[in-house]
């Protein structure tokens, strides 16, 4: 029975969510494929349901790119995000185009004193790249849903 329980627990984690506390997130294959082509598949648990709802309503104009989905994928991802969204006010998505990077939680975790030794990636003048969208530059296992401190490395590779 114990095995069954831990199996069930593992499945729930895989199907639904995060390993609490260590910032590792399980991502569904659909979500990873559809929302992880142009940027890291951001963990659904880092924004609230209202923020995700607004985001999904305007995928044709998604931060300057068309990211529209087929209806079936749109439905699947909408329900996945509603199920996995954060319920913490610190994760509230703000404004007309909510960003994970402007939630209170994200800003606190990335304030200057937290970033000491981990400078943001440099962006050439005139380039449209945004440093904060490049999770993978410091969170080296971000593509695997792992934002734990163990896989953190400065963007320039030195430590």
């Amino acid at each position: 029975m114990k095995t069954l329980q831990s199996l069930s627990l593992a499945t729930l984690l895989l199907a639904g969510g995060a390993w609490a506390g260590d910032h590792r997130y399980a991502l569904s294959p659909t979500y990873a494929a559809e929302c992880g082509s142009c940027h890291v598949a951001y963990p659904p648990a880092l924004m609230d349901a209202a923020g995700w709802k607004v985001t999904l309503q305007q995928l044709e104009r998604h931060f300057g790119s068309d990211a529209s989905l087929e209806p079936q994928a749109q439905r699947e991802i909408a329900s996945l995000l509603q199920a996995q969204a954060s319920t913490r006010s610190a994760h509230e998505g703000k404004g007309a185009a909510p960003r994970l990077t402007t939630t209170a939680w994200f800003q606190r975790k990335h304030r200057p004193e937290e970033l000491r030794g981990y400078p943001l990636p440099k962006v050439p003048a005139g380039a449209r790249a945004t440093p904060m969208a490049q999770c993978q530059q410091c969170h080296r296992r971000a593509e695997q849903g792992d934002f734990g401190e163990g896989s953190l490395q400065p963007a320039d590779g030195r430590r």
Partner: protein, 140 residues
Amino acid sequence: MYFPRPLAMGVALALLAGSTLAASPTSPAELQAAWLAEARQSNPALRAFSAERGRSFFSTTHGSDWSCASCHTSNPGQGGAHAVTRKLIEPLAPAANPRRFSDAAKVDKWFGRNCKDVLGRACTAEEKGDLLAYLLTVKP
């Protein structure tokens, strides 16, 4: 076989997720044939697609900031990176990446998105055919 309910649910979810990603297999040759038939409806004189027109379509902007090359780089035989997020993009040329142009749904999805980003409208069958004709000439 007995599955505890959450596990069974997980399996069902995984199958469901798989269904969205179901491939619709195709090949560059098949796509070219379909686009040629479509392009001839508006341009009956069209004999074949032009790799040269495709190359120029790929590397120039079309009234806005971006060209195809902004993300796929000027050498689609090599990988690129997204202009905003720097996320790595695998090579676009089939010779360098055989998964490209092998799934019709994926081809439609990405032309749908990227043509709107680069041209502000959908690409025509002739533009898609020329582009693929060019990509087929690119070596890794």
